[in-house]
Amino acid sequence: MNAAFAIFQRELRLTFRRQTEWAQPLVFYGIVITLFALGADPGSPMLRQFGSTVLWVAALLALLLGGDRLFRDDLDDGTLEQLVLAPAPLAVAVGFKLAAHWLVSGLPLVLISPLVAGAFQLSHDASWALFLGLLLGSPSLALICGFGAAATVALPRAGILLPILILPLAVPVLIFGAGAVRVAQSGLPIDASLYFLAAILMLSICVLPLAAAAALRNAYE
């Protein structure tokens, strides 16, 4: 457990030393949403109609930013070899690394989501649904990005391959996440969507670190 905590601590330390890195997803998220809202007709019902989808797609793209470098730096400097040989299972190391990645890249998006929801004239209930949906869905997206980064770590031009690989996996999260906001906007209960997002998160936590660890070992084949 000490080893896992050390990985978590190291990732946070590295991220906070490179301030542009943790601010990048947040700035990107803010810019995409602002530009979309400014580009549409003020007061247009389209804003409200497409708001949930735009907010979720922006969150996915923000999490994808720099995702191809999640394990690339460790491969290049040799740290990955030490992680492979460490007594702690590689899947645990990967899980904690991705948890740190979500904490600095995903959680800020969750926290500002009720504020940016105003740009799309979302109701109070819909803003709340967006917040809860992102709280449950963004860790899944971070884990999916992590898996994609691990699967492409040794490949050239991973930046192009990564979105192609992970987008199909991210679709269920986007459907239920954006669906929760739309349902809340109509005044209906959002429990079912949130349960699905929670189920996807549980599945992601159980499966994706193992899959990512296997992919990372494969980088040495």
Binding site: R18, D76, L85, A88
Partner: protein
């Protein structure tokens, strides 16, 4: 009268190593005993690093198997130093990763000649030789009996040579063993007990 058999620390049987479709090593069997220093020697691309990675467990063998009968420490040709962290932080992290106390980190770096600011400034600001010294300091903080070191002298200056030679000698006196690789002739001070030419 012969003494007791030296303890086997690593045993590889019918080992084949491949990179992609290319088979680099075929059906190699070797054993490493306590107190032994084995050198894997060969030209560039002969498969020294791939074989050492396979012996360490970084890479899976194409065929055959490796039995590691002691804990090992791996110093690859990449130094495993994150450029954003200092040598001290990198080594401290490595200790925690391997569930070792990090109390000996400062002393180990000092022994390898990294003193003052070179210990605490980001690794990206260190010279190639200083990075290599920091990587080799892992051998000092680890109690592992099996050392696998890829190109131990690469990038090191002449002053570092006796440091490495003394480390190896002391390790072997304590009952440890080491496998090294090189593509060049090694100085006498670090001469191996056995050589495998690839």
């Amino acid at each position: 009268m012969s003494g007791p058999e030296p303890q086997i620390l690593l045993y590889a049987r019918d080992l084949s190593v491949a990179r992609g479709d290319r088979v680099l090593i075929e059906q190699l069997s070797l054993k490493l005993v306590a107190g032994e220093r084995l050198l894997l020697r060969g030209r560039n691309g002969a498969g020294k690093t791939s074989l050492l990675e396979t012996l360490a467990g970084v890479r899976a063998p194409a065929l055959g198997g490796v039995e590691r009968l002691a804990t090992l420490v791996w110093v690859g040709h990449r130094n495993a130093l994150n450029p954003g962290l200092s040598a001290e932080e990198n080594l401290g992290f490595w200790c925690k990763l391997n569930e070792l106390p990090d109390t000996g980190v400062a002393d180990a770096l000092k022994r390898m000649g990294l003193v003052g600011r070179s210990r605490s400034r980001p690794s990206r600001l260190l010279s190639t030789g200083q990075k290599r010294r920091a990587a080799i300091a892992r051998l000092i903080v680890s109690p592992a009996r099996l050392w696998l070191v890829d190109e131990p002298l690469a990038g090191l200056d002449v002053e570092a040579l006796p440091l490495v030679a003394d480390l190896l000698a002391a390790h072997e006196d304590r009952g440890g063993a080491a496998i090294l690789t090189t593509h060049q002739a090694l100085p006498d001070r670090v001469a191996p007990h056995r050589v495998i030419d690839l």
